[in-house]
Amino acid sequence: MLRRILALVALLVLVAVPFLAPWTKTFLLLALAKGLAVLAVIILLQAGQVSFGHALFFAAGAYAVAFVGRALAGGELFGLLAVSLLVSAAFGLAIGLFVVRYRYIFFGMLNLAFSMVLYSILEKFFHLTGGSDGIRVLRPSILGVTLERNGFELALYFITLALSIVLAAGVTRYLASPLGQALGAIKSNETRLEYLGVSARRVLLIAYVVSAVLAGLGGAITALMQGLATPDYAFWVRSGEFVFIAILGGAGHVAGAFVGSLVYEGIRSYAAVLFADGWQLVLGSILILVVLFAPQGIVGLWQRLMGRLSQKVAP
């Protein structure tokens, strides 16, 4: 009951805030888009696998929007999102077919290697990708309506919010389904899973493609919001950020992705002033502390707190 009320309150706040405080819109939009990419990492963490290269799909989605938008001189928002979904799914399938053969160290490092390859391609092939300046993303129309900047951002915000809710619900159901439960079995005992006649590779491949799509959509929305796609989208620092937020928010729960990225972006917009140059140093230290002392992240701490409170109430 309490959880439902809490979710409802959070939703109301997210709907109302852009009207009450318009300056938060950009912040919330970027946090939600990042939340989608973090959700992608969380899905793979269910199988115990860490990807240090998911920025690759983030960039794939962003550049898909940039290229198609440039070819169509704008285009249609939903069409662009569909294209980025297909492109990131294709990338996910191609790379997934290779990396799902590996676990742990190899899985993490091969993902990192692929993302570094994409990063250097985006940077080196100047005539195609605009090099490190990237490609400008033109503002598309929404259902045929061309909006000026403020209206477009507001519309994009609500579309992203709706999309995030639908996707979060979808991922929750997916993780609860046998296919999602099999991911946990990859983590705990893969051999037993194979003895049950379930192909671990296929289970992981499906999860990988789903996660590629989520990260791709996050990248596409970010590019649309910022009006720019740059090689930085594929940089390892960004992949590291996704993993960091997933662990910070709590890898055991879908809510962890969005709670984590809101908290993260919130802290960052303030801390950027305090630790202008030492930001990654702070992140690294917090990551170590969370891994060592609060492995369930913020959501885990919250659940523990709630558990303790309800025990006290009903002895």
Partner: protein
């Protein structure tokens, strides 16, 4: 492709392979003994390069003999290896040996983030150049082309000394035998009185020093700038994984293979240069997932 271009590509490739080997062998040694992949390994390479550059530039400014640059580079490697490497192992890694693999990866990744940041804080983002140690040894003429002695003789020599030194150390000395014993079976080794903790610490320091040494030696040959650590971690992983993680001799051959492939790519298809190491890795891992030189391991169940 003329003979001279081929010679040039070979010299480039060998010099490059020597450096990559030093980094990869440190990573593979640490993995072989401790079963931990140190994601921060590339940062130790970058720190070695930066510290060596600072020491060499400092020596040059204070008017000491320029030949002191070489001992200074070795000192930079040792300082980074012992101080930074030792700190990482004692403060962090010792707490996580019993944790799941994903968490171990996360912790070393966090160290990587921190070291990259510390490096930026200390040395800034502007590139450093220290060409002196490269020029002081002069050039060598081979097949009509001039190439620096530093890259054709010194770098491969150091790589070979490290390769055979490690072989001898692990198989011919008591300390080496103890390390192998812990690698084989930690519990059994501990039960006969081996201090596994100390073995882990010294192994990690050796690995870290090798990475820093590669960085220090690389300092005169390239511009030292942010991002070199991240590039090197992925590249040395590609070498170590292609060879088979934990395989020392194999990583020497693989480093040579990847180094040559890359330098030939520079002359034949420059846009593919960055991709060659990964293409080789992907092809090898598709055909032999355990790596080129590793024996397939029996499933431990």
């Amino acid at each position: 492709m003329s003979l001279q271009t081929i010679m040039l590509a070979v010299f480039d490739g060998v010099a490059y392979a020597a450096l990559v080997f030093l980094v990869a062998v440190g990573m593979t040694l640490v993995f072989g003994v401790m079963r931990i992949l140190n994601v921060a390994h590339g940062s130790l390479y970058a720190l070695g390069a930066y510290l060596a550059a600072s020491l060499v530039l400092g020596l040059g400014a204070s008017g000491w003999s320029p030949w002191l640059a070489y001992p200074a580079m070795a000192a930079a490697a040792a300082i980074i290896g012992v101080v930074v490497g030792g700190a990482i192992e004692t403060l962090l890694l010792q707490r996580i040996y019993a944790k799941e693999e994903a968490l171990q990866l996360l912790v070393t990744f966090a160290v990587f983030m921190m070291l990259e940041n510390i490096q930026r804080l200390v040395w800034g983002v502007q590139p450093y150049f220290v060409g002196e140690p490269l020029q002081m040894l002069g050039n060598i003429e081979l097949g009509g082309i001039a190439y620096t002695r530093y890259q054709t003789l010194l770098l491969p020599a150091v790589a070979l000394i490290v390769l055979f030194g490690l072989r001898f150390f692990l198989r011919g000395t008591l300390t080496g035998q103890v390390i192998l014993a812990v690698t084989e079976d930690r519990e059994a080794a501990t039960s006969i009185g081996v201090n596994a903790r100390r073995v882990f610490l010294s192994t990690f320091i050796i690995g870290a020093t090798l990475a820093a040494l590669a960085g220090a030696l690389a300092a005169p040959t390239t511009s030292i700038q942010p991002g070199m650590g991240a590039d090197m971690i992925v590249l040395s992983f590609a070498v170590a994984a292609t060879a088979g993680l934990g395989n020392i001799e194999g990583s020497a051959l693989t480093a040579l293979l990847i180094g040559l492939a890359r330098s030939f790519a520079v002359y034949i298809a420059p846009e593919l240069e960055v991709l060659t190491p990964y293409l080789i890795m992907v092809i090898v891992l598709l055909v032999r997932p355990q790596g080129l030189f590793a024996r397939p391991e029996a499933r431990r169940i």
